[in-house]
Symmetry: C2
Subunit: 514 residues, 2 copies
Amino acid sequence: MPTIRGLFPLLAAAMLLCSGAASTQSKPVLRPNIVIFLVDDMGWQDCSVPFLKERTPLNDRYRTPAMERLAASGVKMTSAYTSPVCTPSRVSMITGMNVTRHHVVNWTSPFRDRNTDNPDRQLQPVTWNQNGLSPVAGVPGTIHATPLPWLLNRAGYYTIHVGKAHWGSSGTPGSSPLALGFQVNIAGQSTGHPQSYLGEDNYGNVQPKWSINAVSDMQEYHGSGTFLTEALTREALRALDAPIRNGQPFFLHLSHYAVHTPIMADRRYLQRYLDQGLDSTEAAYATLVEGMDKSLGDLLDFLRDRKVEDNTLIIFLSDNGGLSLAPPRGGKPFTHNLPLRAGKGSVYEGGIRDPVLIRWPGVTKPGTAIDVPVHVDDLFPTLLDAARITDARPLQTVDGQSLVPLLAGRRRDLGERTFYWHYPVKWIDNDGPGINFHSALRRGDWKLVVSLRTGKKELYNMRDDIREEKDLSAARPELVRELSTLLGRRLREMGSPMPRIRETGAVVSYPDEN
Amino acid sequence: MPTIRGLFPLLAAAMLLCSGAASTQSKPVLRPNIVIFLVDDMGWQDCSVPFLKERTPLNDRYRTPAMERLAASGVKMTSAYTSPVCTPSRVSMITGMNVTRHHVVNWTSPFRDRNTDNPDRQLQPVTWNQNGLSPVAGVPGTIHATPLPWLLNRAGYYTIHVGKAHWGSSGTPGSSPLALGFQVNIAGQSTGHPQSYLGEDNYGNVQPKWSINAVSDMQEYHGSGTFLTEALTREALRALDAPIRNGQPFFLHLSHYAVHTPIMADRRYLQRYLDQGLDSTEAAYATLVEGMDKSLGDLLDFLRDRKVEDNTLIIFLSDNGGLSLAPPRGGKPFTHNLPLRAGKGSVYEGGIRDPVLIRWPGVTKPGTAIDVPVHVDDLFPTLLDAARITDARPLQTVDGQSLVPLLAGRRRDLGERTFYWHYPVKWIDNDGPGINFHSALRRGDWKLVVSLRTGKKELYNMRDDIREEKDLSAARPELVRELSTLLGRRLREMGSPMPRIRETGAVVSYPDEN
């Protein structure tokens, strides 16, 4: 039995040991694991989950039981937005910057210094950040910003990218997810779509027809019957093993190439859709959707089986509206997102409304819906907030807002917010509805659509008219003027690129100029 | 001031806290970080470090200051061995199995089920594990074994592969380093050499000349002037940041494509070698060597600057002897490893003797040399031993032995060991010295070389005759018989593939049969 004199040093030593142990460990903040499940080109109606109050024929066409499961256990964001095409949304997602600010206004070419805009007779192509996002300064044609995965990694997250990257052109740092803060990169490159979804085609790694869109890293599956979506899922789950085993929080960006073109059938699911009477293209498209959903289901099962689902925040989203050009889609053009108008490339709702699902056990309320408008710009601050990273200090000014108060039910809205879209380029040869040279704005229930080519303005009330059929601009000239002022001021303040008229060399009118 | 009664609970609580902290942490075994720095096709004389007692003209030709630095701070293994070509060595390295056991006797094709052996008029090609190593059972044409990175990862190591993999053919799991236990894979694929070392060539990712040897994952450097060796090094150091920051032990397999063909000049170093009077090929080869050495230097600097060098075990090695066919090498064939005989593909010393350097601060004695014969098979048990992994229980029987007692100076040798080489295939069209259809054995100072085609046997004393010029087989028939018995027994016991004679269909004679 030690005396008092003997006890004190023992106690002191024991306490010292404790404090020593504590100082070598990170602080005991329980950070949630984070999964961004990103689908490429998926439309707002490409699922069996109704994002409108009423079910639609498209909800009945597609089969996405895992999305239903996620919706039932999480929250459905019914007024979520993206940019009309992929790279702008992807850059916004991991920087929090709106497209009017980052100036990556179009999809980036896999080749450096190549403008992907189509030539136009009336308007000159604009100068924009055509090489995409860069994590380092001084790279011409890029926006230099602090990427989300880098911040999460610095805060102790194990960061994994799987699938489509498409943040920057080859020959620039942004082409590599490893340079953006991901510790692990599987199949992410500078390209925006796969050369093939088929293992039988080695995902495009074949001679002599090889193109830069051949998918890297998946040689294990070459010559097999494994569809790319399935192969990426298996690799993602394999990559999750390490952080789960080590008890390290993880950030998984599972970014499917599906459901982007080439529209190729995943034979596991094809017959069901042919039996529905769909043409072969639309049936194949539906299999791309169902294969993507199977991936989500596998992920949900995995998180449950590995006992991490309770501490995992999952965000499901698409990077833009569903493609609705025909061809390559089957059927009539601009009908694939009905009741939304138009599709990918358009500033109408079909091009920008996003089927977002969020599940964060203990925070989100299962089976609920939130109709407050939110934007892909919000992901960056939301995830920093969720991860309790308060010292991020990114280089860039962040346009988005954290959705955590909304998700947690602490707030019913996020105040009166204004969202901007700016697509001052030519995406396709012939202008489509809201496609090529358009800007737009949403504030409250009101949406202003502006053609940069013609100066024409349209005004819609999103609460009454989600189809954007009733142009109220003539009836509400003052509101049009007010919203035009907001949009014009934003474009000027941000120095957003504006097309010039070939004939005169003059910049087209800003929305508040006519 | 607490009373005794008050003190006891406090002490108990403090101790409980301590033990609680200890139980959530891994056991406080200090595991060393491990780096395997593997060079492809580097010969024993391709450096300014003398592996012979006396310097050679080749030591004066090549410039490898980082290797000199590593040798000065570590130990030089002057009698280290590999297989005559790459995949057999690479499989041995991460399984501990000798080639006579794993039956991956030749380099594996990037394409599945393709035998890379050249056809021969006299002998049929053998059946071997031509798809390489597999981490899972049931893959035809593979050896199923437990790979080292998997075991290290399970034990808590952060496992990184950078560069050439070449463990298995596309379409099998072994083609992916991720399936072999690496958490991170950068540019590792089923191929054995790069299509190009030049960033200007996108490392081979160019149309229309693309081949499967185009290097994946390096799009960040496409179109830049970054030589592949440099780009891989930068990626390796970037990948090390995460485990160092987190205090996690790491295993880095930095596996350069250099100095394998295509022999392309790294312009940073070319002039020096042209000024020496070397032909353009040999000058380019020397730049491949110096670029590799620069990578080693960068790594050593990085480990020092990040303050982890004291707890990092580095093993520098090549996977086989230096290529000595001419062309593609300049000058006279089979002179590129002098004084060693022949080169890559041969069971003579030029094909199998390996310039190995090992540094393990606190264990290896700086600036020393160990002349005890060791083998690439020894790496697997050595690294498990160094990492104090005692419960590995790999599927396979391990042929190698831990070198730790030798490195630590606890033992002066590892007992009387026998090493086997078995290369029962045709590597090049016309037989070269010790090249095509040969087996060999080393026991003590003695080496037996057997032609499987002719049955001819040679006997050399490696202590007196490292050049293998004095065949003592006629003078020592009993020793030849004894060693032939050992070799023949080994090949039979292991079921090692043996060629058959086309005319008769009969297996060629085992070494102990004639």
